[in-house]
């Protein structure tokens, strides 16, 4: 309603807006810092006071994706001129791109593979957690389950222990069954992490979907399964989207288990990015570039689901 507002309300409103902007500025500062660092030349990355105005360069990204070594001697002018623009950037930084001795092909860094691993593991575990969670929640919501409350509490209780506490036993078990450093290993782990959360959140959403919807489908000649897919699922999508975002973020950002359980084949980006700090003097611009790219999938995913999220985050599925 477009009522007339009192001066007091207008003032409160202004204060609120200012507060929101202040909070936003505080929260966005680290992201700005990462973003600006990832476009800085290396020598400007760690200046005190920080350099704010600079000529942006993509050399951190070139370095992020290639394997490099220290230049022992300057390249000849011919070598320099013959090199493509991105290789020249590496030369300018006092390094050279490592190439295969025989074919002369550029050796890529591990970042691309780690990033792909992160995507595969996070997406698959999210899909699994959300679909299993939705089915479980539906069962609890619609059927009489003996000891229902106890089961639900048990499911929740799996979250009460900080996961890292069991990292060592898990590592030993994984080694025995050959799951360490495999995609499957991390997928199982992250699915298990997220499942209890997914069950609880989805139970809330499904409880809110009136039973009449399915019952109408049941009398209209559909099986329980068809009724679930045709009627319940479309109504639960909002909740599933919200749950999926949470599960994806958890899996995407997970660090400790990824660090312990994987080293090469199935390693995800979070343990990889800081591991680059260790080799020689840390090149913060490369780390910043890796971090910036790492932020993008979550942003895209959240953006795609934003319409569902706006309703889903308020944890109410049905507008009555």
């Amino acid at each position: 309603m477009a009522g007339v507002r009192t001066p007091r309300e207008i003032l409160t409103n202004r204060v609120a807006i200012v507060a929101v902007f202040v909070a936003l500025a505080i929260m966005l500062t680290p992201i700005y810092w990462i973003a600006s660092t990832s476009f800085k030349p290396r020598n400007l990355a760690t200046t005190i006071p920080p350099t704010v105005v600079f000529e942006p360069t993509v050399s951190p990204f070139v370095k992020l994706f290639t394997k490099r070594s220290q230049l022992r001697e300057q390249p000849t002018q011919e070598e320099y001129d013959a090199a493509p623009w991105w290789e020249q950037m590496v030369f300018d930084g006092g390094e050279k791109v490592v190439r295969n001795r025989r074919s002369g092909e550029v050796t890529m860094s591990g970042y691309g593979d780690r990033f792909t691993n992160s995507l595969i593991i996070s997406i698959v575990s999210t899909v699994l957690a959300v679909s299993m969670g939705t089915l479980t929640a539906y069962g609890f919501s619609r059927f009489k389950v003996a000891g229902e409350d106890d089961w639900l509490f048990f499911i929740l209780s799996t979250r009460m222990l900080p996961p890292v506490v069991v990292a060592i036993p898990m590592f030993l078990m994984y080694r025995v069954v050959g799951l360490n450093d495999t995609h499957l290993g991390l997928i199982i782990l992250y699915t298990a992490f997220n499942l209890s959360f997914a069950v609880w959140i989805m139970k809330g959403f499904i409880d809110e979907i009136p039973r009449e919807y399915e019952e109408a489908a049941l009398v209209d000649g559909y099986t329980r399964m068809q009724a679930f897919f045709k009627v319940v699922l479309p109504e639960a999508l909002t909740g599933m989207a919200a749950t999926a975002v949470f599960c994806f973020i958890t899996a995407w950002n997970e660090y400790a288990f990824a660090l312990i359980m994987t080293n090469r084949n199935a390693q995800t980006a979070p343990p990889y990015i800081p591991s680059q700090v260790g080799s020689g003097l840390p090149d913060w611009t490369v780390i910043a570039a890796g971090t910036l790219l790492f932020l993008i999938p979550v942003a895209i995913f959240t953006f795609l689901l934003r319409n569902h999220l706006l309703r889903g985050m308020s944890f109410g599925a049905i507008r009555k």
């Binding site: 009449e212 049905i318 009555k320």
Partner: protein, 362 residues
């Protein structure tokens, strides 16, 4: 179309018995209304017929075939819920077509059936809208359309007009009646609104605490209630119910100073009981007069409800009050002296202990 037979059906929810030995036959093409207070077991009975609820024991037959162990989908029955049964993610057209998809009807026949139903229910212009864009009345029209579209054996409706406002309810009531006459589908309709029941039903089934109280056409239920519950539940304004005693041929309401004279033949059944007795008279059977005359006893008006077409007047006799129905403005105000009489042919005597009508079978 179908005949539905409910035989000795019992339903327990845990320890709580919700249907107590229910027996009822619904004839082919009949419109039966289940009437009763909330919690009486009406919804449970309807859901049991539909197959949405199992019965603890007993049989349900549709056209002579036992269906109590069949799934809802295999009973070929349609159900209209009080609310929340239109799928919000589908358009009205998709909603109505939904049951036809279950039987894999081809698209052309489906469109034809949907248009036909939409035409009948006057919702054709809404076919491409989402349910959320409809008014409450139109939503229920769509729900009824979805139920009718596949021409089910029977149509079950659980308070389909319950969420609508009074005016719309009246209008929809007429539409449902018209639709039933046009289609002749066997229908079971649940409501707690006795006016709805009276106006729609071929037969009314009154259910209270899981026990079937009376089954009969509306006028029979109204004129010959088998027990006190039915007598009090059916009719508006409610029947006058008072403890009485017999003094010769005089029926004296406890607390009143003077009795009403009843002809001998009207008291036969009343005489047969030794126990406490309750008299039930509808307001229209309480006659008022401005002059003292034979059989009338003196009373004082205490409250008047003018209802336009008629008035409801409360009159005090000694310590008790009777409600009478009079023509408009028959009495002009409270505290007026009038004379009252009870029409013996419209009086009901009940055994207070059992609640049963002492006229027995009539």
């Amino acid at each position: 179309m179908a005949q539905i037979d409910i035989r000795n059906v019992q339903k327990f929810f845990g320890q709580h018995q919700v249907l107590k030995n229910l027996n009822l036959t619904i004839e082919d093409g009949e419109f039966v209304v289940m009437l009763g207070q909330s919690g009486g077991g009406k919804t449970t009975a309807l859901r049991a017929i539909a197959g949405l609820e199992t019965v603890t024991s007993g049989k349900i037959l549709i056209n002579g075939t036992e269906v109590q162990d069949r799934k809802a989908a295999d009973r070929d029955i349609a159900f209209v819920f009080q609310s929340f049964s239109l799928y919000p993610h589908m358009t009205v057209r998709e909603n109505i077509a939904f049951p036809l998809r279950a039987v894999r009807m081809n698209a052309a026949d489906r469109d034809k059936a949907v248009s036909e139903v939409a035409e009948t229910l006057q919702i054709a212009e809404h076919l491409n809208r989402k349910p959320s864009a409809l008014s409450g009345g139109d939503m229920q029209r769509v729900a009824i359309g979805r139920a009718l579209v596949r021409r089910p054996q029977a149509l079950l409706m659980d308070e389909p007009l319950g969420v609508l406002d009074a005016k719309l309810r009246e209008q929809m009531r007429a539409e449902i009646k018209r639709l039933h006459i046009a289609r002749g589908s066997t229908s079971v309709y649940v409501t707690h609104d006795q006016i709805e029941a009276m106006s729609l039903a071929d037969r009314i089934v009154i259910l209270h605490d899981g026990v079937l109280q009376q089954v009969g056409p509306p006028d029979e239920v109204y004129l010959h209630p088998t027990n006190l519950f039915v007598a009090k539940f059916v009719g508006s304004p409610v029947m006058n119910v008072n403890a009485v005693r017999l003094e010769g041929n005089s029926v004296v309401i406890n607390g009143a100073s003077q009795g009403f004279h009843f002809p001998d033949q009207m008291l036969g059944h009343a005489r047969s009981t030794a126990g406490e007795m309750t008299l039930g008279v509808r307001p229209e059977a309480v006659l008022l007069s401005h002059q003292p005359s034979d059989g009338f006893v003196e009373a004082v008006t205490t409250n008047i409800e003018p209802l336009g077409s008629h008035d409801i007047v409360d009159v005090r006799l000694g310590d008790t009050v009777l409600r009478a129905r009079t023509e408009s403005a028959f009495v002009s105000g409270e505290g007026q002296k009038v004379w009252a009489r009870i029409d013996p042919s419209q009086a009901h005597f009940f055994d207070t202990a059992t609640g049963l009508n002492l006229r027995g079978a009539n």
